[in-house]
């Protein structure tokens, strides 16, 4: 070797020496070093094998070969060495025993190499063998000869360690395991090699003894990488390291793994071991594994075995049914083997155990876990480490990972379940709704619990306000969802009733078609009323808490989200409160304790009367046990005629007598009083007096507009016996044609209305949820627009209707500000169908105690002839004003003739206000309210105005209303409702289809 040849090496190119290089480790190591740009000097016996090796390596990079006999020269002349790899393991395994000369020569060579490494400060590694080291300790009876490979390894390692300790050279001892793979050297390991040989050449893998002897295995590529990594690492300086798989594999376990690869051999045979030695299992403790220094095994053991096996098959020119497998294919194959074993069943004695489908499924799921060797994981030396890791991870998991994960998963679950929930609600599927809500509640609980676990973050970041507000919000959502679960549980009987309700139809002949009753369901509902009330309260509490969450503590983008939540949940409160209140009276009103009778008055708004119109017909509905048990329809003339026949003549109320100069009073005129509860009581009286019903538990008015709405929804309905489809266009003509041509004793009209009622109920009962929700909305709208009025004896029911403005009340405490006009068409025509109405209310608030009101009512009669149904609008008008109103001007009454009276907290101006055909007339009233402090409430520096503008039932939805409110200049409006503001004026122009609630707030300045 020429010294100058090394001088050509660039300074940055390292020089590596590999001693005993003509073996798989040396060769592969050299290849990698050359590829990395190192100059490599190989030292070994020069022969044909090494010659071939040199020519192969020269193709990769700069390589020199030095016969081991010339090592002295080389070491004496070499100018630089960066890395020294002394691969003794293969050399020792090939030569079991040595002569004293060879022993001395090898030890001298090592000594020389280490000296050079010391001189040039090279990083060095002595590569020895784990298995040779193991032999010295595992077999207590084993006495190696003085010049054995074991002794030589021991000597070499000792020498190396002394060099490190004394000369401080950078050296490590790397004990390598048995290399497996395509170029494996497994032949040197007799028992292991026998397993592979048997796998290929025999029917059975023979294991001598119990097969519990242990092997330290490694894939060749992992081994090469390990040697390089450990040598380059400064952490390994002076260390003894085991470079092999960290798990110890017994002969038996390797044999099983071989069988799984489906070689020729199909079973394992245990044979006697004549050379059996006493083995002290677990006596041998390998040096710390290379994993400690960052080395990682890349090739799975199974793959290493498969490659080695494949090499064996090739060696014997045998065909292996399964070629070497890649990782995924290997797993698949393994699964196939397991499945095959399971499907064949195991035999135990005469009993065959066959896998069940469940067992197979469990096996599939748990299959990967079978590979886990718990014993290995929790070996005593690792247990402490594992426990420590576990204990460190536990709080991290509990206070960070789980909360975040839980919040994420549960939020997603809630998001996902929302659509299913609404579908189930639509389908009235209460069971599913309850399940969904329970699950929703559990998700909310988990989110809450997760969030509570994160409170330390808010404490550390001093964001306790955000924590408190968020916690309140989440808790409110949890409470709300709990309330919903209780509500779903409580309303279960109601849902069941709605779902199962089957109407008893065909009342025409006085009998019902079904005996089905719902008493028990209603009793359950009655029993649950407290539960529902409680759930409603709980939900209200939750909604209040959500409302009160202070958004200001959050960043802007979250504020918007919270605002959206607050807006979204707000309508829930009213709906749920409605359910809770309805449940309080529903069982009683549906006749849970006995029959309840309701009087339904059909009113014709074409001939306007106080509560909506001329009463044309009446219906008695008897409800018992949640079922309609009685339905009687008749013309109002029949009942009035019956009273006359019985000689029962009743005087009208005095004001009515005075106004209309009547002599008889009956059901047809019973709606004189504008306050519907009063009118309803009158109607009840006449029905009972005539004997049409023993008792009346409620009165309902409906007008033709509701029927028209329903017929529009359904596109008309067929009524048995009627030639034409009954639609919203012809219903009016049909009913009023029958009424116009009615003669006492005739049943044509009653029959038609009975059939109509049958068909309407039948239609509603057979409709799906969506259609019924439209019907429900239509009815709800009619209640709001006063096309339906309700009066029930049940106190809870009446209170509920009154609160919602469905009771048709005219009350001094409610209608305390603006005039409430009550018209009464006394022209025996339907002039109201041709009428346009306009109201203007101008109000000036002078001070906290003084208000001036100017009111005008303009009526335009578009009738063009005096022929029925058109004609002059003969209208008796009563104008209900606040009792304290000081009236200044009144104009517009016929002949300016009007009277003033007082009743139920009102001042009433009344007189005729007739509108001839094709004429427009205006009536004006001005008044002054002193001591207006029952209208204007003052609290601290705020002024509240709360009042209701009355709408007479039966008046057109297109009637125009304009309202102007002027207020003092030192008042600042805070709440202006749906008014427009122009300086100190509030203006509103609207079509009055329902009562207008005024709620205005000013701040005093």
């Amino acid at each position: 070797m020429q010294e100058k040849s090394f001088s050509k090496i660039k300074k940055q190119n390292p020089i590596s020496i590999i001693v005993h290089s003509s073996n798989i480790i040396g060769t592969n190591l050299a290849k990698i070093l050359l590829e990395q740009g190192s100059k490599v000097i190989l030292i070994d016996t020069f022969d044909s094998k090494s010659k071939g090796l040199i020519s192969e390596l020269k193709k990769i990079g700069e390589v020199d070969f030095v016969d081991i006999g010339g090592i002295d020269d080389l070491m004496g002349n070499i100018g630089r060495v960066d890395y020294l790899f002394y691969i003794q393991s293969e050399f020792l395994l090939e030569n079991q025993t040595f002569t004293s000369k060879d022993f001395l020569e090898e030890s001298n060579n090592l000594n020389l190499c280490l000296k050079v490494a010391q001189k040039y400060n090279a990083k060095s590694s002595l590569i020895s063998s784990v298995s040779l080291n193991e032999k010295l300790t595992q077999y207590p009876d084993y006495k190696p000869s003085s010049y054995s490979s074991e002794e030589l390894q021991r000597y070499s390692e000792t020498l190396t360690a002394e060099y490190h300790d004394r000369a401080k050279i950078n050296v490590r001892i790397i004990r390598v395991g048995t290399a497996l793979g395509k170029e494996s050297n497994v032949e040197k390991f007799t028992s292991l090699n026998q397993l592979f040989e048997d796998s290929v050449n025999s029917d059975a893998i023979k294991i001598a003894g119990e097969g519990l002897d242990v092997h330290y295995l490694i894939h060749l590529s992992d081994l090469i990488f390990g040697i390089l990594k450990l040598t380059f690492s400064s952490e390994t300086n002076g260390e003894v390291i085991s470079l092999c798989n960290d798990n110890e594999y017994s002969t038996l376990s390797i044999a099983y793994k071989l069988l799984e690869l489906n070689p020729n051999a199909t079973e394992i045979k245990f044979i006697a071991n004549p050379n059996r030695k006493r083995v002290l299992h677990d006596q041998y403790i390998p040096a710390p594994n290379a994993e400690k220094y960052g080395w990682e095994q890349k090739k799975r053991l199974e793959k290493s075995i498969a490659e080695t096996l494949d090499t064996k098959f090739k060696k014997y020119n045998k065909k292996w049914a399964v070629p070497p497998l890649d990782e995924s294919a290997y797993k698949k194959k393994l699964e196939e083997i397991r499945t095959k074993k399971t499907s064949k069943g195991k035999r135990q004695g005469n009993v065959s155990i066959v896998a069940t489908p469940t067992g197979e499924a469990v096996s599939k799921v748990l299959g990967p876990l079978k590979n886990i060797n718990i014993k290995e994981i929790f070996r005593s030396k690792n247990l402490f480490k594992t426990l420590t890791i576990f204990l460190i991870l536990l709080p991290i998991f509990y206070f960070l990972v789980y909360p975040l994960f839980s919040i994420g998963i549960n939020t997603f679950a809630i998001y996902k379940s929302t659509s299913e929930l609404s579908e189930n609600i639509s389908d009235l599927n209460n069971e599913n709704v309850k399940d969904e809500l329970t699950s929703l509640n559990r998700n909310m609980q988990n989110i809450n619990r997760g969030f509570e676990n994160l409170n330390w973050i808010f404490l550390l970041t001093q964001q306790t306000d955000i924590y408190d507000e968020t916690s309140t919000l989440l808790h409110a959502l949890e409470t709300g969802s709990e309330g919903l679960v209780t509500l779903a549980d409580g309303t279960e009987p109601l849902i069941r009733y709605l779902d199962e309700f089957e109407p008893a139809l065909s009342f025409e002949d006085g009998t019902s078609t079904t005996t089905r009753e719902y008493t028990n369901i209603l009793r359950d509902l009655e029993k649950n009323s407290d539960k529902i009330a409680e759930s409603s309260y709980k939900i209200s509490q939750a909604l209040q808490a959500i409302d009160q969450v202070n958004k200001e503590v959050y960043p802007q983008f979250i504020q918007e989200n919270i605002g959206e939540i607050q807006t979204a949940v707000s309508p829930l409160r009213k709906n749920i409160d409605d359910v809770a209140q309805i449940v309080q009276f529903l069982p009683d009103t549906l006749g849970v304790d006995g029959r309840k009778r309701y009087l339904v008055l059909l009113q014709n708004p074409g001939e306007l009367r106080s509560t909506g119109g001329w009463i044309t017909s009446y219906v008695i509905i008897g409800v018992e046990g949640g079922q309609i048990r009685e339905l009687k329809v008749d013309d109002v003339y029949e009942l009035d005629g019956e009273l006359k026949n019985q000689g029962k003549n009743f005087e009208p109320p005095s004001d009515m007598l005075e106004a209309l100069e009547l002599d008889l009073f009956g059901l047809s005129l019973s709606n004189w009083e504008p306050n519907f509860p009063d009118a309803a009581k009158e109607a009840k009286f006449f029905v009972k007096e005539a004997g049409a019903a023993r008792s009346v538990d409620g009165v309902i008015t409906i007008d033709i507009y509701l029927l028209q709405d329903l017929l529009d929804l359904w596109g008309g309905i067929n009524i048995p016996g009627e030639r034409d489809l009954i639609t919203s266009e012809n219903i009016y003509e049909k009913v009023f044609f029958l009424h116009e041509h009615f003669t006492p004793g005739q049943s044509q009209k009653a029959t038609f209305l009975t059939k109509l009622a049958d068909e309407v109920i039948s239609k509603i009962a057979s409709s799906d949820f969506e259609e019924n929700s439209q019907v429900f909305n239509s009815i709800l709208n009619s209640l709001e627009t006063k096309n339906i009025l309700l009066y029930f004896n049940n106190v809870n029911a009446q209170r509920y209707f009154s609160q919602r403005g469905w009771a048709g009340e005219l009350l001094a405490r409610k209608h305390n500000f603006t005039p409430s006009p009550i018209e009464w068409n006394w022209g025996a025509n339907k002039a109201n169908l041709y009428l346009e109405r306009e109201q203007q209310i101008k109000t000036e608030i002078l001070s906290l105690n003084e208000i001036e009101v100017e009111y005008s009512l303009t009526l335009k009669n578009n009738s063009v002839s005096e022929n029925y149904p058109q004609g002059e609008y003969k209208n008796y008008l009563r104008l209900y004003l606040p009792q304290s109103a000081e009236v200044s001007t009144v104009t517009g009454f016929s002949k300016n003739n009007y009277s003033t009276s007082y009743k139920k907290g009102f001042k009433i101006l009344e007189g005729w206000f007739n509108i001839p055909t094709s004429t427009t007339k205006e009536l004006s009233v001005s008044y002054y309210l002193e001591n207006a402090n029952d209208i204007l409430l003052v609290e601290e520096d705020e002024v509240f105005l709360q009042s209701t503008i009355f709408k007479q039932p039966g008046t057109s939805k297109k009637d125009s209303l304009r309202m102007d409110i002027t207020y003092p200049e030192n008042w600042a409006i805070v709440e202006e409702g749906n008014f427009d503001r122009v300086r100190f004026n509030l203006i509103k122009q609207t079509q009055q289809d329902r009562e207008e609630n005024l709620y205005l707030i000013w701040e005093l300045q």
Partner: protein
């Protein structure tokens, strides 16, 4: 391989922990569940004795304390022991019990479905950094006045007042009804739910 197995095992353990916590497995373990079955319901009926039914199960007569109840909602029915049972219909209350708490029903069952008295139970609220408790008071009447420690408080439909833990004297009154007074203990982290029933004052003609 061993490292992989270790990591897998630890992850599996944590996954199992997480799933168990999600489904409340731990709180439903027999011992834990029994440990948490510690809610108490005390029922008293003034001026008379009543049979007590909890979710339809007979629990004897008033006055009594029913112990070891599990957390959850109960329908409590009180049937006054009297010869004229039509005059005193069975009264039904839905009450929610939470672990580590005591609930009280102290009611006078009057004729014609009237009743007077109060129901108290605690419901957990989030433990905030303010260390507060709360009290929620409601009545089935529309207009009523509430005083806490003789101080009138604002009345709305839903009334939840945040208070420092401690004992408070509650008074609820309404025009035409007999007012009632009773002590209540506010606990940190709990909302003391109070339902009040007032008896109309008989009219003298």
């Amino acid at each position: 391989m061993a490292k992989f197995l270790k990591i897998t095992s630890i992850l599996l353990i944590f996954l199992a922990l997480g799933v168990s916590m999600h489904f409340g497995v731990f709180s439903n373990l027999p011992l834990v569940r029994d440990f948490h079955k510690n809610a108490v319901l005390t029922v008293n009926t003034r001026r008379g004795v009543a049979d007590i039914y909890l979710d339809g199960v007979d629990y004897g007569q008033t006055p009594t304390s029913i112990t070891n109840l599990a957390q959850g909602g109960y329908t409590v029915e009180l049937e006054k022991i009297t010869e004229s049972s039509d005059t005193y219909p069975k009264q039904s209350f839905y009450i929610e019990l939470y672990r580590n708490t005591e609930a009280v029903i102290d009611i006078e069952i009057a004729p014609n479905n009237f009743k007077s008295g109060h129901i108290l139970f605690y419901a957990p609220i989030p433990k905030t950094f303010n260390q507060e408790g709360a009290i929620s008071i409601r009545s089935d009447l529309r207009d009523y006045e509430i005083r806490i420690n003789n101080e009138r408080v604002e009345q709305k439909n839903v009334i939840t007042y945040k208070l420092k833990p401690g004992e408070y004297e509650i008074e609820v009154s309404s025009d035409g009804y007999e007012s009632i007074e009773f002590p209540a203990i506010v606990r940190e982290g709990y909302d003391l739910n109070v339902r009040v029933y007032l008896l109309p004052i008989p009219m003298n003609f």
